[in-house]
Symmetry: C2
Subunit: 283 residues, 2 copies
């Protein structure tokens, strides 16, 4: 579990680092970023996971997410993994599309060839990387929360709903909530998981709620000027599933906001404070 | 003075826009960004100018500067110009170096060939672009302030000290304060201005102070782990010049911080609040 420091910059009194390691799950070198706020000797801090969207790496939120101020004030470690394996020998979308393959791992363990060997982002994000974070940073792994954007919002919801005891808070910006029912998701789930619809349901937040998964509460922000809202994101489907199931959900439609980091950064503070309140309950 | 909207994104309740126009000064299409915070109908808001450093465009601070939250709260328009002319026919550094030519206009009007036609960033930033901002945005041009980073800190100081009545606040992150005395500056001033040392002094903050320029006060933040500190930035020279001249200066050395936007974003709030206090005095 050796990790290599790619870069380390002081920011808001803490350290914004970028790290690289050889992943057993994906079989490739993986890069991720971690912000560690200022902390007292011996302290262990709660961990917020941020999963990124299509085409992104760790770098997008690290540069544009505007999360460090509140993380520094509230003592939160912020971890941003990559969105897929990358490098020589990793198969990509045959047509080079942005919504499958490189940058589009969809937080599943692929069962289909030629993707099954490397596309193991579910196990990477839920098992391998948490071990690395716990071993290399002043992290209290009994206090974790998870958030994400778009495809990463899908990941945050499906992972959070699968491990509700692990994550004290779950939130998303403009998430893909029903991949089984929208073009991005159908392409990805078919490509990585084949036609095993039972397996699809484990990677679909609406289906998880329908099948009985629950969390204490959920927070979603969605811009109403988001170009992907009606076709790909469909928060209405998640709202209906949560209402039918009695799952608490705060879904906020934000007038005039789009799908970009200009939207995410605007509401990052509110999400982090929502996470902090729930993580601090467990201190 | 027609400007074209390249992009427009809602953020923090306002609009982060990127705009393009044909510049008379530089003879090229120039791109700049403007954040307009939420405002009441008919309001005119103060304008903060941010000048960027070597290799940068408007985009670096627009994406990484973390200025929008405070600008939205305090009602500040934030303008970020490019750092040089760009495009076919614009001469660049003969060796392709990063510290001269494209991305390195140094906020001067070049007198030397082949740069004199296009490299007119002084007049562009102090005359042409202010007219465009005043005509196209809800800007109160009687309330302006200026800040910048590195080469842009040089620009902020030299422009601010040249027009102390125009700029109600002047601040800089890790500025080049004595270009006549450091490698980056000597190369740029010689290349753009030839050997006219009297002209160099008008583009050297230390020399301007020595020659009698004054501002009400000045604020500089500088990381003490900045790799360029000792050779290129030399805040000690500026501090000595200000002390000798009785020019008020707040210079803060920030332990552990480097030259990056991780440093700038950490202290952006403090600079903007310092500007806001001085701009609001003139309401």
């Amino acid at each position: 579990m050796t990790i290599e420091t790619v870069s380390s910059n002081k920011s808001y009194g803490g350290i914004q680092g970028v790290y690289r390691h050889k992943s057993k799950e994906t079989g490739m070198e993986m890069t991720f970023s971690v912000f560690v706020p200022p902390f007292d000797d011996g302290a262990r801090l709660p961990v917020v996971w941020y999963l990124s969207g299509l085409t992104c790496t760790h770098a997008n939120v690290t540069e544009k997410g505007e999360f460090r101020r509140v993380c520094a004030e509230r003592g939160l470690i912020f971890v941003a993994p990559d969105t897929s394996p990358r490098g020589d020998g990793v198969p990509d979308d045959p047509a080079g599309a942005y919504d499958f393959g490189s940058g589009a791992g969809f937080y599943v363990d692929a069962t289909q060839e030629p993707f099954a060997r490397h596309y193991r982002m579910w196990s990477y994000v839920t098992m391998e990387l948490p071990d690395i974070v716990g071993a290399n940073f002043p992290a209290d792994m009994s206090r974790q929360s998870i958030m994400g954007h778009s495809m990463g919002g899908h990941g945050a919801l499906t992972i959070g709903l699968t491990f509700p005891g692990r994550f004290k808070a779950i939130s998303a910006f403009s998430p893909i909530v029903a991949p089984s029912q929208v073009p991005w998701g159908r392409k990805a789930l078919a490509g990585y998981l084949g036609d095993d619809r039972a397996l699809w349901r484990r990677h679909d937040a609406v289906a998880l709620i329908e099948d009985g998964a629950r969390a204490a509460d959920l927070l979603i922000d969605q811009g109403d000027a988001d170009a992907f809202l009606a076709e790909q994101l469909r928060p209405d489907l998640f709202e209906a599933a949560c209402r039918a199931a009695g799952q608490p959900l705060t879904l906020r439609l934000r007038a005039g906001y789009d799908h970009s980091y200009y939207f995410i950064s605007t509401f990052m503070d509110e999400h982090l404070l929502w996470h902090a309140a729930r993580l601090e309950e467990y201190c």
